[in-house]
């Protein structure tokens, strides 16, 4: 029984990290890069209109960071719940 509840807690912890990451994923691409692109384009980042920058550069950089962040958080959660591999 203890094992089952431990697994359920582990899964919930995983989902929390997952939803957080996917929220950022959605924000930088779909919200900043597409839905709000015209608004953000009023702001400049050097010679880049900001919305355009998110669509062609910023979202991609964020995706890379997100995956490494997820891997790092999940390794910590694996250890905490004692399910990390050797």
């Amino acid at each position: 029984m203890e094992q089952t509840s431990n697994r359920a807690d582990y899964w919930r912890a995983n989902l929390r990290v997952l939803f957080g990451c996917l929220a950022v994923w959605f924000l930088v691409s779909y919200v900043f890069g597409i839905l709000l692109v015209d608004t953000l384009n009023q702001i400049s980042l050097g010679g880049y209109p900001l919305g355009f920058w998110f669509a062609q550069q910023g979202s991609i950089f964020t995706f890379v960071v997100l995956i490494f962040f997820y891997a790092w958080r999940m390794n910590a959660i694996d250890k905490k719940f004692g399910v990390a591999e050797d």
């Binding site: 990451c21 691409s29 597409i34």
Partner: protein
């Protein structure tokens, strides 16, 4: 040394390298043949996956696509990278934990159904075959352009090379050649981009150069100037944002499709541990991002270079404002020979006019005021990458490197696809369904034979493309998004999802996506069999068939959940399997 000899030497050296790697890393067991013995370092797997993923189209055509579409091409940039976030968090670690050989195998086991496995195999075959046709064509074109052979000879040479290292080496041989191919490809792509960025903006990093001021003394930003000149020539602004709904849906369809592509997913079966799969996805995207964030710079800068070459004063329509054809630069002459660049002097003034004659108001004004009789210059999008070294006056070895890079991009993706096809046949169909008692030795032999057959079929289709090669993107990504991704994700994230739900969902997603694409593109892409003209006025709610994979995926999810609710839950041991897959190690 003349350019042609140099190209032969550089390209020849890369082939020798691939052969040596294939002999050193040849596969001796089915595990090595399908998943490289699960012993690939996660960083190296990241490189191999990046090469597996970035095709001839990414290498040669994407920058041009961005150059001519500006902001609208962002869907491809975000879609083809953001898919890795989904793949890394929703699929890859769990499929690695499952720990078998193929994607259909997971679907078959998880949904305790050979039927589900066969549907997954069919989806995989359609996706991978349509995709591989373009690669074989890409190999032929790259060979013919750089080595001055005919497309046929190039294609046969490509088939021969892939045959040697893929049939012999299996996944293990393919992995090590893909790592080498990544290094060649990324070097070839970034070196010319860095030089062009330095020339135009003084910035070393093209990613910064695109957002910087031009060094031509105008003190204006590159993108600002590009917007201005394009509008002056009757085009839309480079940063204009039309049709955001289809950009949104296309991005979503490409992301979901990317995450569901079997030849990419299977690369994450090759690393030793679950945590390696997570990390490896990060490295993969980092290696992809180096090219994908450079491509918009190459696109914008090549577009600017082209406009500036043709239009040599700021005032549009000035009598001496356009380049004299007789004084055109060397690179234009070179690429005219290939037909990728075409000039037709419509108004007989000996000068080159490049503008948007599809814009009726502008065309009428230009005819009246400047005496222009239509756009005179046709530029193929592939030039934006291929002619870059010449535009930037780079030495010949850079041109040779681009040749080797283009061929590496096409070969690495073709090999990955061919492996996915052959393992689906030998492992899923033969071992899994038709001859379960086959010995390991015979299965390995079957794998090699089906790989050979796949190469021959792909080569044949590359030589005689069935007329829909250009539609491959819509089809491959639409099908991956609407069939495999939802089934895989629900197999992991929903313990309640059962056989009936998954099968109904896959069939519904597949058929509605195929139907929608065929409705506007023609049945099986046969010209003139479409039910409605393929334009925005006729699309259902204005949804472009290319973007429909996102809707297909939603239909798959909804149908699967409804059917699963109405039928019995999966057996206990399947629910146990899901529990197992969710944790890296049993506690």
């Amino acid at each position: 040394m003349d350019l042609q000899t140099l190209i032969y030497l550089v390209v020849g050296a890369t082939f020798v390298l691939y052969f040596v790697l294939a002999i050193v890393a040849r596969a001796g067991s089915t595990s090595e043949f399908y998943v490289a013995g699960k012993g690939i370092n996660p960083v190296l797997n990241g490189m191999a996956t990046a090469a597996d993923w970035m095709s001839a189209a990414s290498f040669i055509s994407m920058a041009g696509l961005i150059a001519f579409n500006g902001y609208s091409a962002s869907a491809y940039l975000m879609g083809w990278t953001g898919g890795y976030v989904l793949l890394a968090m929703l699929l890859a670690p769990y499929l690695r934990k499952f720990g078998k050989f193929t994607v259909p195998e997971f679907i078959g086991d998880r949904f305790y159904s050979k039927g589900a496995r066969v549907i997954a195999v069919i989806a995989l075959l359609v996706i991978s075959l349509t995709y591989v046709i373009g690669q074989m064509k890409g190999v032929g074109v790259a060979f013919s352009r750089f080595l001055e052979t005919s497309v046929e000879v190039g294609l046969f040479a490509g088939m021969g090379i892939v045959f040697v290292y893929a049939v012999l080496g299996g996944m293990k041989g393919i992995t090590y050649t893909q790592i080498a191919q990544y290094v060649i490809m990324i070097f070839a792509y970034t070196v010319p981009a860095i030089f062009i960025s330095l020339q135009l903006t003084g910035h070393f990093l093209p990613q910064l150069g695109t957002g910087a001021e031009l060094t031509d003394g105008s003190n204006q930003y590159l993108l600002q100037k590009l917007d201005m000149v394009l509008v002056d020539l009757g085009f839309a602004e480079y940063t204009a944002t039309p049709d955001l709904m289809n950009t949104f849906l296309l991005t979503l369809a490409l992301m979901i499709g990317t995450a569901g592509l079997p030849h990419v997913l299977v690369r994450f079966f090759t690393v030793p541990r679950v945590r390696d799969a997570r990390k490896s996805a990060g490295w993969t995207l980092l290696f992809i991002a180096i090219l994908y964030t450079t491509a918009p710079a190459v696109g914008a800068m090549a577009m600017w270079n082209t406009l500036k070459t043709v239009q040599n004063t700021d005032e549009i329509g000035a009598p001496d404002g356009n380049l004299l054809y007789a004084e055109r630069p060397e690179w234009m002459k070179t690429w005219e020979l290939t037909g990728l660049l075409q000039f037709e002097d419509k108004n007989g003034d000996g000068r080159i006019q490049y503008y948007n004659d599809g814009n009726e108001d502008f065309a009428a004004m230009a005819e009246e005021e400047f005496g222009w009789n239509g756009n005179e210059l046709t530029v193929d999008r592939d030039i934006m990458v291929l002619a870059n070294p010449e535009i930037a006056n780079l030495p010949n070895w850079v041109i040779a490197l681009i040749a080797a890079g283009g061929i590496a991009a096409a070969l690495s993706t073709a090999a990955g696809l061919l492996l996915a096809i052959s393992s689906a046949i030998s492992h899923d169909l033969l071992k899994g369904v038709f001859t379960p008692n086959i010995s390991e030795k015979n299965e390995l032999m079957a794998g090699r034979i089906s790989m050979t057959v796949a190469i021959v079929v792909a080569g044949y289709l590359g030589l005689n493309p069935p007329g829909f090669a250009a539609q491959v993107v819509a089809l491959a990504f639409g099908l991956a998004a609407s069939s495999l991704f939802p089934a895989l994700m629900m197999g992991i994230f929903s313990k309640r999802m059962n056989k009936q739900g998954a099968i109904a969902g896959m069939l519904a997603g597949l058929s509605i996506t195929l139907l929608y694409i065929f409705w506007y593109k023609g049945w099986f892409f046969i010209p003139d069999t479409n039910m409605l003209p393929d334009n925005a006025d006729n699309w259902l709610f204005g949804i472009n068939p290319t973007s429909f994979g996102a809707i297909g995926a939603a239909v798959n999810f909804i149908v699967a959940i409804l059917v699963a609710k109405m039928t019995a839950p999966p057996p206990h041991e399947i629910q146990e399997l899901v529990e197992e897959v969710r944790v890296p190690r049993a506690s």
